[in-house]
């Protein structure tokens, strides 16, 4: 897995998928009854991804996303930008959050307890706000 390609946001992912369908923003939105302004904002990250799973599924359908991996990726990216921890991850390890590639690693590789602890430490260092360290 290429970490660089994984490090994209929800909006960039949406745009990549739309362009892969060879659809311009206007054409895509016209065909799917979407508001081009809002869709553009979502692609640019100005608008947060929808919280509703039904809406996320609807977006995936419109973008022709069918494989379970791609669908999961869309959900993860949406959750990451919502600042939420996906339900299955939350039940697994509370400290792990934010990064879709982390979600994927955990789901796919079932890391050891030791690995998880190291990962948690790393994330604490990298993404947890400094003032939380002081607590």
């Amino acid at each position: 897995m290429n970490r660089e390609t994984e490090a994209i946001g929800f909006g960039v992912f949406l745009k990549q998928k739309r362009l892969a369908l060879k659809k311009s923003l206007r054409t895509f939105c016209e065909e799917h009854g979407e508001d081009p302004s809002n869709w553009s904002k979502m692609e640019r990250g100005v608008l947060k991804p929808p919280k509703s799973l039904a809406r996320q599924r609807g977006i995936a359908l419109k973008l022709g996303i069918q494989s379970p991996e791609e669908l999961q990726r869309l959900f993860d990216l949406a959750d990451a930008e919502q600042g939420r921890i996906p339900q299955d991850i939350l039940s697994n390890k509370e400290l792990v959050r934010h990064l879709p590639f982390v979600f994927r690693t955990i789901r796919g590789e079932v890391p050891t307890e030791d690995n998880l602890d190291k990962l948690a430490d790393l994330i604490k260092e990298e993404v947890t706000p400094k003032d939380e360290h002081a607590k």
Partner: protein, 218 residues
């Protein structure tokens, strides 16, 4: 400081042939050959330009589309899509034409002011009032027409029209006798029939039929 007292450089001018070559080059490299030409897709997928839909821009500013040369962004009013999508296609292609043809103008503008949008508007207004804005607009229009209505495809559509309309040959003869009024009428008649294939207005196809020489004035 106003530009009025500054020396204005000589900007690049384009002949019709050069604009045709530029449009053809874009189509050859970035278009799949299927009508209509999806200019938005070409811009989004092949160029480092962002297209921003701004609802109500037309009502609020009078502009249906506009280019911000400071940021390589093209704005458009998505509501124009409902009102007149054919015109919006042309407007976006027109702004794309500015991006491709008038880099030197934009680069010069960049050096004059900081990148604040109101300053850019002010600068551009001064610029439009004083320096060749008509030429620049004409060049962008010419590019848009050539991009959205490629010569080869226009020629094919005209041939199809002729085969469906046996009276066409007679109309051509009348142009020789009556000149431009008859040519205008024929161009309008043909354009009304074929313009939807290109997703542009009747006027745009009329213009292309005339400038391409496919239906000349005499």
């Amino acid at each position: 400081m106003s530009m009025l007292n500054e020396e204005i450089p000589e900007f690049r001018k384009y002949s019709d042939d050069e604009i045709e070559a530029r449009a053809t080059d874009i189509l050859t490299r970035h278009w799949n050959g299927q009508l209509p030409v999806d200019v938005d897709y070409i811009i989004e997928s092949q160029f480092d330009i962002q297209l921003f839909p701004i609802p109500d821009m037309k009502r609020l500013t009078g502009f249906e589309a506009a280019i911000d040369p400071m940021r390589d962004q093209i704005y458009y009013d998505p509501r124009s899509q409902d009102v007149n999508s054919l015109r919006l296609n042309f407007s976006i292609a027109h702004e794309f034409g500015h991006f491709l043809l008038h880099k030197d103008v934009f680069e010069w503008l960049r050096t004059r002011r900081d990148n604040e949008y109101p300053e850019w508007v002010k600068t551009t207004r001064e610029f439009s009032a004083l320096f060749e804005s008509d030429r620049i607009e004409r060049e962008a229009n010419s590019f848009a027409g050539r991009l959205l209505v490629p010569y080869k495809h226009l020629s094919e559509k005209l041939s199809e029209f002729k085969s469906r309309n046996p009276q066409y040959a007679q109309a051509e003869k009348m142009i020789k006798e009556e000149g431009r009024p008859m040519a205008d009428a024929l161009r309008n008649y043909v354009a009304r029939d074929i313009h939807q294939a290109f997703r542009v207005s009747v006027q745009c196809v009329e213009y292309r039929l005339r400038t391409s020489g496919l239906i000349p004035n005499s």
